[in-house]
């Protein structure tokens, strides 16, 4: 593989492999989603079938057609996803058995296979092209734009699509200060959740004395239900690297780290490949593009500790210690990794940088609202029809995201709340569905922008149990260094568990509110300071559910085990014995063709009988 020695070589595609990739840009191909989600659905078998079939057909009919495995396309609900390019014909839920038909009908015959097209549930219409599918149509994909198009294991494909052009521009025509000014002017704010202006962060680090500085990409995506950062690294790792190199130039760093979750093996693999290729191409290492800039990137694997997403804990972990946070100031820009000035940004922030440089700060700043610029990626999960990754301009109403893009709530159930920001965030109830998605508006409602996790709750979700879930998570993940977080989360969790068990007492809500405030204002790091948010926000909007648990001893959503009873609906029970046989604790009695009964004293409320009953004869009250 050839080293690219100057920006001019990169821009003119004078390097052999890149030139070939540019020539191949419009070559017809089938792209198959190779993201973690689609792999779980079995997309690997699908692409192998395509490769098999096309190689064979190719020999017979000199078929000039490529099979490309890309990163995550985002529409995880309908995987495995297949797109025929350049037309953009979109096939959903493709199985191995469908491959021969796609090859003969579409690839050779030029006709679409109707039954594999996506059906818009609203209009009942079949939709032929990817860009017309409502899930994609209402998005504005800047960071994810190449995810469905690019083989992430090939650096040349990224270069052919304009990759590393921003780096070349920065190295040949901009002084470091100008880069920082550009990022400042773009209005980019930290996408990890806190929303600190990125340009200002860079400036603070640059202005620190000393020759040794570090940059870090925070890819420790620990928020349960969020996987956008993983998908960026899986699908387009070079864009993250390009952002980091530009940042290193602006800040004056020569060593960078990507701190990434060990639970993301595919992202780690792609990132490793990308770093090796960038080094071979002279885009990382010594004298990058002949400019004199030296910068290397190393990968550090996280070992499964949520607190390591906090920047000071993350740095401790890179240094090989346990991931305990420390007080700030000094901020990482002043005293960071190994005591040196350090700049930490989230994956999405780094990936936004090449886009801003390429298209200009003015262009970028026109997207979004007055104080929140650009786009944000959410992973929209839970009780939603279109589970997937959604990139939208800041400021769009939440309703549009959930209903136009997300396709609304499954099984005709009612929307209850969107939980944004995970264990640090809060929920937005139905009455605020028209809130614009920007940092200030979400904060005003008691939620946060967070890193992009968005979990949708419907009428069957118990908000007290939901709050208990998050509190159990943060309590477990609390590192234990400071007392308010270590004991406060424990006390709050114990109270919530009591309420869910039907042992709530008057005064519990007030206690949670008071303790929540204490934990928020006295904890050492972001984990503790935000841990009470899910509880405080559910009390704010769903106090009636808490009261029902405490005073009426009922769980309105019929989730909390201590407050529900399973019983047999005599009219529906056929006496088929299936529930009886499946009950692990022998709580069900009855004989063939006689109505069964459940002994509430023995029943553990595991839900097995309800899940196996074909006659809707198990009732939860």
């Amino acid at each position: 593989m050839a080293r690219i020695n100057s920006a001019a070589d990169l821009n003119t595609g004078r390097v052999e492999h890149t030139a070939a990739a540019i020539a191949d840009l419009d070559r017809p191909c089938v792209t198959i989603c190779g993201g973690t989600g689609c792999r779980v659905y079995g997309s690997e078998k699908v692409w192998n079938a395509f490769r098999d079939k096309i190689t064979r057909q190719g020999a017979q009919a000199t078929l000039d057609f490529d099979v490309k495995v890309t990163g995550c396309h985002g529409f995880c609900e309908k995987g495995p996803l297949v797109v025929i390019r350049p037309q953009g014909i979109f096939y959903a839920r493709v199985k191995v058995e469908d491959v021969p038909e796609i090859v003969t009908q579409t690839i050779i015959g030029g006709k679409t296979v109707e039954r594999l097209l996506y059906t818009d549930p609203r209009s009942g219409q079949k939709i032929e092209y990817e860009h017309e599918v409502p899930f994609y149509k209402h998005q504005q994909r800047l960071i994810l734009d190449l995810n469905g198009d690019l083989d992430p294991s090939q650096i040349d494909e990224y270069i052919a699509r304009g990759g590393y052009r921003s780096l070349a521009k920065v190295l040949t025509s901009m002084a470091p200060q100008e880069v920082i000014d550009e990022i400042k002017a773009s209005g980019l704010r930290g996408r990890g959740g806190a929303g600190f202006p990125t340009g200002l962060k860079w400036k603070l680090c640059r202005e620190q004395p000393g020759d040794v500085k570090y940059t870090i990409c925070n890819a420790d995506e620990g928020d349960p239900g969020a996987y956008m950062d993983r998908s960026i690294m899986e699908g387009n790792p070079h864009r993250v690297l390009e952002g980091m190199i530009i940042g290193a130039y602006a800040i004056g760093a020569h060593q960078g780290y990507v701190y990434i979750r060990n639970e993301y093996p595919l992202a780690v693999k792609h990132l490793r490949q990308a770093i090796a290729q960038a080094e071979e191409h002279g885009l990382l290492g010594k004298n990058i593009l002949g400019s004199g800039l030296d910068f290397t990137v190393r990968i550090k694997l996280g070992s499964g500790a949520f607190v390591c997403g906090e920047e000071t804990a993350l740095m401790a972990s890179i240094e090989g210690r346990i991931g305990e946070p420390r007080p700030r100031p000094p901020f990482p820009a002043q005293r960071g990794l190994w005591g040196k000035p350090t700049n930490i940004n989230n994956v999405k922030s780094w990936a936004s940088v090449p886009i801003i440089i390429d298209r200009g700060a003015d262009w970028y700043a026109r997207l979004g609202t007055e104080k929140s610029k650009g786009t944000m990626i959410f992973s929209v999960v839970g009780k939603i029809n279109n589970t997937g990754l959604v990139e939208v301009p800041m400021g769009i109403p939440l309703r549009e995201l959930i209903f136009d893009i997300g396709g609304g709530i499954p099984n005709g159930k009612a929307f209850k709340a969107a939980q944004i920001g995970g264990p640090s965030g809060g929920c937005i109830p139905a009455e605020h569905l028209d809130v614009p998605i920007d940092y200030e508006s979400l904060t005003a409602l008691g939620a946060i922008m967070g890193s992009g996790g968005m979990v949708i709750a419907d009428e069957d979700t118990c908000m007290v149990d939901f709050a208990r879930y998050f509190m159990a998570f943060t309590q477990e993940e609390s590192c234990g260094k400071c007392v308010p977080c270590r004991l406060g989360t424990k006390a709050m969790l114990a109270t919530l568990e009591r309420i869910c068990a039907g042992e709530g007492q008057p005064g519990d809500i007030e206690y949670l509110l008071e303790m929540g405030e204490h934990v928020k204002c006295s904890s050492l790091c972001g984990l503790g300071q935000t841990a009470p948010n899910p509880v405080l926000s559910t009390i704010r909007y769903f106090r009636d559910e808490y009261e029902a648990h405490i005073f009426d001893k009922t769980c309105p959503a019929k989730v909390c085990k201590g407050l529900i009873t399973y019983s047999v609906v005599p009219e529906n029970c056929t006496g088929c014995m299936v529930c009886l046989r499946n009950c692990a604790v022998n709580a069900i009695t009855g004989a063939k063709q006689t109505v069964h009964t459940i002994n509430p004293g023995l029943c553990t409320r595991c839900g097995m009988c309800k899940s196996v009953c074909k006659f809707d004869a198990i009732r939860v009250t």
Binding site: P224, G225, E319, I322, C606
Partner: protein
């Protein structure tokens, strides 16, 4: 699995030049043996010149490390938020009842280890259970039973 000093020495040598090599060395040992044997912790401490207390502190801090040996089959229930609202607690309950162990434990016959994970990021398929690296999506208590049955049946056949 048989523990050999050579393997662990190898791992440490590979990591020794790296900064922060303690975590990395433990990660490699965990990957090799699926737990951290006490002898390995002692060896790592001696070789890296780190007090055993510090090695122990790191080994017990991060979720990825285990001090107990794992069973032959590893069942991992995703407890991410999306899986939670879709019913993963019932799936976990069922597995706990059927195996007679709590999450994080191994059955006495060392056949099963039951674990939970915070999020696997395959939320469209939730609730998810990963069995020895193989994903099963849209789980219910009933499917959990079938999963256990298929493993025990295969075990009875092939041992």
């Amino acid at each position: 699995m048989h523990l050999t000093i050579d393997v662990i020495n190898d791992i440490i040598n590979r990591q020794a030049r790296d900064d922060g090599s303690l975590v990395a060395a433990l990660e490699d040992i965990q990957a090799r043996y699926r737990y951290l044997p006490p002898e390995a912790l002692i060896l790592v401490s001696e070789r890296l010149g780190v007090p055993l207390s510090q090695t122990y502190s790191v080994a017990t801090f991060y979720n990825a490390f285990s001090l107990k040996p794992k069973g032959k089959h590893c069942l991992n229930v995703c407890m991410g938020t999306a899986c939670h609202v879709r019913g993963s607690p019932q799936v976990l309950d069922r597995l706990q009842t059927q195996l007679g162990i709590g999450a994080g434990s191994t059955t006495r016959d060392r056949l099963f280890t039951l674990e939970t994970v915070n999020c696997l990021g395959a939320c469209a398929l939730g609730p998810i259970v990963v069995t020895d690296g193989e994903y099963s999506g849209q789980m219910t208590p009933q499917k959990a039973d079938q999963l256990l049955k298929s493993i025990t049946r295969a075990e009875a056949k092939h041992g």
